[in-house]
Amino acid sequence: MFNPKIVAFCCEQSGIPAAEMSRAMQLGPALKSAPSLNLDIRPVPCAGRVETVHLLTALEQGADGVLIFACHEENCQYRRGNIRAKSRLLYAKTLLERIGMEKERLEICNLATNSGVKFSEVVTEKVEQLRKLGPNKFSQLSSEVGKE
């Protein structure tokens, strides 16, 4: 069965603790079958550290879906980092649309430190959704030459 690869940019104030909590609680069917879950967690000090290009290159380099886990909108410790992340994600979706890629492959989720349950639910749903969408046909296995 197709096992989608998910890259998750996790804010260290919310996403990371929530991920750890969900692991500790052994939540969700996807997480129970942990060996087959292809989840690449990338910690960031704030969701605002995620640039639009990070979302695209993750897909380019083989991810089937990309998630951002950010703090709730009024709670960003860096004031508006989570709002910036949201605009960038929305912009990335328009870029995907223009080249014919399904914009559902990108998603942002707002949560708190103790949202272990929410974390696992979101990941589980995304795995299901991506299974239906199928593998990312736009990715490339070999990297480009001469990148700065």
Binding site: L56, R98, I99, M101, S139, G146
Partner: protein
């Protein structure tokens, strides 16, 4: 500065159809400021283009470079070492940069990735508006620092026309009537008397490209 916007990606994909390896060159000046052709935008566009080509099964190799400027031969020459190894160049610089590259690299295809639109001001982050049309004879002293050539839809020298209503131009709700702005500024400066004198017919011959591309020559600077 010069403001531009990226061409629709379908158009760029169609330009790149015959090529397998390209140089995608940004510019560190104007197009960086208006977020369409700087280093970040180059990276983003490169990723989009590669993914688009992957889905069609025809891989595209992209070299990314963003010189500080592309409108001067010395900066353009920074690309010389790579140019020989690519099939074509897609340049995100303004039209000047594209033409500078084309003049320097005579046997390489150089294509524009942006539409150069105007010279303008950054009003707010993400919002730019036209302010200058390089007419070559600046009359801002007479108009309180507001340009009717760039900002009046009819380029009136002795406006406003009868369509100015509540400070808005008759053709676009979002556009301020330039002559209302001029009037307000001169009034605030106590210089309304400037508006009593007719500004005579403009010399469009020298004050636009109606006589072909204009030149500025400084003999004292020639080496």
């Amino acid at each position: 500065m010069i403001k531009a916007e990226q061409k629709p990606i379908d158009e760029l994909i169609s330009y790149l159809e015959p090529y397998n390896k390209i140089l995608l060159s940004g510019c560190g000046a104007c197009v960086t400021v208006c977020h369409c052709g700087g280093e970040k935008e180059v990276a983003l566009l490169a990723s989009s283009l590669k993914m688009a080509r992957n889905s069609g099964g025809k891989k595209l190799e992209i070299i990314e470079r963003t010189p500080a400027r592309q409108c001067e031969p010395e900066f353009a020459m920074e690309l010389a070492e790579i140019i020989g190894s690519v099939d074509a160049v897609l340049s995100l610089s303004c039209g000047v940069g594209v033409q500078t590259l084309a003049r320097q690299f005579k046997s390489t295809v150089i294509m524009p990735g942006v539409n150069t639109v105007f010279m303008g001001e950054t009003i707010a982050h993400g919002l730019w508006e036209e302010r200058c049309q390089a007419c070559g004879n600046c009359i801002l002293e007479k108009t309180g620092g507001v340009c009717p050539v760039a900002r009046c839809a009819k380029q009136l020298m002795n406006g406003p026309c009868g369509g100015s209503s509540q400070g808005i131009c008759e053709i676009k709700r979002e556009t301020d009537c330039a002559w209302q702005l001029i009037y307000d500024r001169l009034k605030a400066l106590g210089q309304l008397a400037k508006l009593s004198e007719m500004i005579p017919a403009k010399n469009w011959g020298t004050e636009s490209r109606d006589k072909g591309p204009r030149r500025i020559i400084r003999e004292d600077l020639k080496i």
